[in-house]
């Protein structure tokens, strides 16, 4: 194997770690520039001064001048530090550890590889999650209380919980059902991939962008004025009265869920389509010989056979709908009896500065995903057992 030939003895073993250390120093300097709120403009100003462009430098330090150039400089440093720096860190520390006696090397090396990830996971997920759970049981003075959860029984909160349940059931059910139907249909026509791309494409669109797209579909003008929203134009064209879709409860909840279904159906369809292609032809032929219609074949044979994929997709979409924030926040802000947990949590924390209630709402979401966590862990253990 080629790897063995590149292993050189002697001094060259030290070249890599030392070059790495120099690179690391550069990266630390880069991080300092990035950490400084005015790091980009200041650095560019220093460069301008060195080049003799004093007025340009002064402009930059005063917050005007070539701010875009300064920003691009910052981006270049970020990329250098972000990508190059991480690599240097691993290679240089890995190189240093390789110099240790084998016994120590084998003990330390895995932590060099996995360490940065574990530290980040601890700082950004494990510690905050524990903190949020504790905070949800405390009042603003740190006293233990259940008050943050007790308010959940009040009418405006029960409505939020009801809306979230509707999102969960209709959003997940709609995406999965449509995904299944589309996968079954599209597989049987020419230009399958074009059709799939068109349905799959919304997955690339942000929830904010999708909210604008659908906000325009749902646009409402008073009766008598020209309807520029597609849906109300159809309603009026059929002789009805225009409906302010997004401010009419409870229709608005379903209108918002449709945005989510529009985005997620493509994901479900693609996974199901791949799973259907894996169903063996023998089973299908046997069922056909037994006189099953194509529809029976799909519902009674194919759907049960791709059950695993259906469960995976359902749990994935269920988690997305459970945490839904952007669509509600952008379309109505939850003002028209269409509020959901994640949106209310955002408002509690960042508008009302009610951290305890926000933490309780987050904890509620956490409890709601626990069954999925259990399923994932069970599947993982089973997989490990097989492997």
């Amino acid at each position: 194997m080629a790897v063995a030939q590149t292993e050189r003895p002697g001094l060259s073993r030290f070249v890599l770690p030392i070059a790495g250390l120099i690179g690391l120093a550069v990266c630390v300097a880069g991080v300092l520039v990035l950490y400084d709120p005015h790091g980009g403009p200041n650095l560019l100003a220093s460069i301008y001064e060195a080049l003799g462009n004093i007025s340009g430098a002064t402009d930059l330090r005063n917050g005007s001048g070539d701010q875009v150039v300064a920003k691009l400089l910052l981006a270049a440093i970020a990329l250098l530090v972000g990508v190059g720096g991480i690599w240097l860190l691993f290679i240089c520390v890995g190189g240093l550890v390789s110099l240790l006696p084998p016994k120590w090397r084998d003990r330390i090396l895995p932590w060099v590889f996995a360490g940065p990830a574990l530290v980040l996971l601890a700082v950004f997920l494990v510690y905050p999650a524990a903190g949020t759970i504790l905070r949800s049981f405390q009042d603003d003075h740190g006293q233990w209380t259940l008050a943050n959860f007790a308010v959940m029984t009040q009418p405006d909160f029960t409505q939020i919980l009801r809306n979230n349940a509707i999102w969960l059931i209709v959003g997940t059910g709609g995406s999965v059902t449509l995904g299944l139907i589309f996968a079954g249909l599209f597989d049987r026509v020419r230009r399958e991939s074009l059709a799939k791309t068109l349905v799959f494409l919304p997955l690339a669109i942000s929830l904010v962008g999708a909210s604008v797209i659908w906000g325009f579909v749902y646009a409402w003008q008073p009766a008598g004025e020209p309807q520029i929203g597609l849906l109300n134009a159809v309603v009026v064209g059929l002789g009805g009265q225009p409906i302010p879709w997004l401010s009419t409860s409870p229709i608005n909840v379903f209108c918002e869920i449709i945005i989510m279904i529009w985005l997620q159906t493509g994901f479900a369809m693609v996974v199901f389509s791949a799973a259907i292609k894996g169903v063996s032809s023998e089973v299908l032929e046997a069922a056909r010989l037994d006189g099953a219609s194509e529809r029976q074949l799909f519902v009674r044979v194919i759907v049960p056979m791709i059950r695993g994929s259906i469960i995976t997709v359902s749990t994935t979409i269920a988690i997305v709908t459970l945490k839904i924030f952007d669509i509600v926040y952008v379309t109505t802000g939850g003002r028209f009896d269409d509020d959901v947990v994640a949106n209310r949590m955002f408002h509690e924390v960042f508008q009302f500065f009610n951290d305890g209630r926000g933490a309780a709402l987050a904890t509620l979401l956490f409890v709601a995903v626990l069954p999925v966590m259990y399923i994932n862990l069970r599947n993982f253990k089973r997989q490990q057992g097989e492997g």
């Binding site: 972000g82 691993f90 003990r107 090396l109 259907i276 993982f380």
Partner: protein, 300 residues
Amino acid sequence: MTAPAKAVDTPKAGVSAWRPGFIRSVPLRLSVFFICFLWTLPTLGLLVTSVRDPKNITTSGWWTALLHPFEANQWTLSNYQTVLASGGMGDAFINSLIVTIPSVAIPITIAAFAAYAFAWIPFRGRGILFTIVVALLVVPIQMSLIPILQIYSAGNLYGSFLGIWLAHTGFGLPLAIFLLYNFISQLPRDLFESASIDGATHLQTFTRIVLPLSIPALGAIAIFQFLWVWNDLLVALVFLGPGADVRVLPTALFQLIGSRGGSWHLLTAGAFITMVVPLVVFLLLQRAFVRGITAGSVKS
């Protein structure tokens, strides 16, 4: 059944057994066409509106413009000029690039090293630590917002690019580690045994064998993370905030909705600006993306 006969029955790669030759039924084709039409219509409306003269937008539906598409004076790019310059979408676009690129590159690099360790370096606590990673896959981001914001406020990281790179790195890691682990742990054991016999260190095995072989998986995860970061509103709102010097495209678009809610000529152009990069990336790399999704989902 004997082996050769089975081989004859087995469908060719990519051809479904569910599809017994193309069915030429008109209702089926019509319904597929109708679905595609329905799914594309909202985006089409956005695109058409974004290039229409603002004064037409509020007086007639966008579909009426398609009835006489060759009247050149109804089309304009001025909406884009307005929204890029005075709407601040131009600056936001640059900020989005600055936020996204490191937020994709950093977590994937860190996850690749970690996934290799979890898959091929035995160490104490490996099983329980990886179980924790699997558990973290579904923990809602909402659980992290309040404590992390407190840390950021204390450490002057709120509103800084550094802060949001770190946040996206932390939040993106569980999925990246999990998917890469699934891929790397499936590589043939012989590969690692012969490398080890040849005296290769783990670092060499990783960089020269595992990484080149993992490029498809790395690509798929990069697309995931790119779409997630580029399209994210919540993390950007909480950790970067609405300041014009740092705000990203989703934040800018949201603010545009707040300030110019009825100005569909600006909203549609702004929305399209936020969408164009992910759409291009998505269309170019769709196959890699689909491979990533299905590899993660179909197996179980």
